[in-house]
């Protein structure tokens, strides 16, 4: 954590609303992204992210400054999204709804936009087949580079439970990839792919 963040956290713990607003400004994207990947719709993600910050605001006095703030914040977001998923007990991904802000380039190549959209659909399809906790673990690993230990802390799981969940989720990932990949196979997309694991 950078120094201004530590200062904001300390001030927020003493009831400084402006300091907490700075934290919201800084962490809105990682929180929103986790909620979006968990829930699938922009509006649901917005509501979940707002709820996450409200819960964090209420509990900020109990936050231990020795802990990573992002891990703590994403833990709140993940638990909220998992609860939401359990309440619905329904697949929730709206694969045709993608936020316009997903593409970072202000004037992207149209072919890139199409391929990115296809990739997002595939991602949603794959993540949707996983249980909420497995999905949260995968998102934390591959979007936030969390270690098994960090994932365990965020989701209240033991390291062996995290390993087990990651193992199962990777299995689902490979299986689902095999089933969706032939229809979406696109040479352009592969050009934008990151290096293999």
């Amino acid at each position: 954590m950078s120094n201004p963040e530590v200062e904001w956290l300390q001030r927020a713990q003493h009831g400084d609303e402006e300091a907490f607003t700075n934290l919201v400004e800084t962490y809105q994207t990682p929180v929103y992204n986790l909620c979006y990947r968990m829930l699938g719709g922009p509006q649901e993600a917005e509501d979940a992210a707002q709820e996450t910050f409200w819960r964090a605001y209420q509990a900020i006095r109990r936050y231990d400054l020795q802990r990573s703030f992002i891990t703590w914040l994403l833990s709140i977001a993940a638990h909220y999204c998992i609860d939401q998923q359990r309440r619905r007990r329904l697949p929730t991904f709206t694969i045709d709804l993608l936020p316009e802000e997903s593409a970072p380039d202000p004037a992207p190549d149209p072919e890139f936009v199409v391929s990115r959209s296809e990739e997002e659909k595939i991602l949603h399809q794959i993540l949707n087949t996983m249980s909420p906790q497995d999905r949260a673990a995968m998102i934390m690993r591959y979007w936030y580079n969390f270690s098994d230990e960090e994932i365990g802390k965020a989701l209240n799981l033991s390291i062996s439970a995290v390993k087990s969940r990651m193992h199962r989720a990777r299995h689902v990932l490979a299986e689902r990839w095999k089933s969706v990949q032939p229809q979406s196979s696109n040479p352009e997309r592969r050009n934008h792919e990151s290096p293999a694991v």
């Binding site: 917005e46 605001y57 694991v197």
Partner: protein, 182 residues
């Protein structure tokens, strides 16, 4: 050949020892299925790693600030509602205890007698108060009454109105102190 072992190793990602990795590589060299599985997993995880962060629509922080005010007001209302429910519950409980006490210490005939006595006492008190007021009015000079009555009635109405408005404000919005903290 035990493919399941190698499949487990493929999914175990970075948890393998050097020896296990060597053995896995040897196996992959000869097994197309496992090779394909690892290829699929690598492509899929590559897709996950390459996916950009989704960002909220602009103005998230302003929406947060607005929602913070709304949530605080809602929380205060809930607290006031809970307080009223608790007070009403306590009053009902006291009434029940009082009723139980009466039931346990007296008979129905005694209740009837007590109720009759109370009603009679109330009635006589009311008549006494009426007589007292009439006597008091008869002493006041004839010019004063209308102006005095208008003044007293207006004052009492005004105080009652303020009392009702204050109760309504506290029950709907919380105390002014809490609001000023917002």
């Amino acid at each position: 050949m035990n493919h399941q072992l190698y499949k487990n190793w493929i999914f175990a990602e970075s948890d393998l020892s050097g020896e296990q990795l060597q053995e896995l590589e040897k196996h992959l060299y000869t097994c197309d299925d496992c090779q394909q599985l690892r290829q699929d997993l690598r492509l899929a995880t590559g897709l996950l790693r390459a996916a950009p962060m989704s960002t909220p629509i602009p103005g998230f922080t302003q929406r947060w600030q607005a929602s913070l005010v709304e949530r605080r007001v809602a929380t205060q209302r809930r607290q006031v509602r809970r307080l009223f429910i608790a007070l009403a519950g306590a009053a009902i409980l006291l009434l029940l205890l009082f009723a139980l006490h009466i039931l346990a210490t007296s008979t129905p005939v005694e209740w009837l007698v007590a109720a009759f006595q109370s009603t009679f006492s109330l009635f006589t008190t009311w008549i006494k108060v009426q007589d007292f007021i009439l006597e008091l009015v008869s002493f006041i000079p004839p010019v004063v009454p209308i102006a005095l009555w208008v003044l007293i009635t207006s004052g009492l109405s005004f105080l009652t109105l303020i009392w009702i408005i204050s109760l309504w404000r506290i029950s709907s919005k919380g105390t002014s102190n809490n609001e000023s903290q917002n």
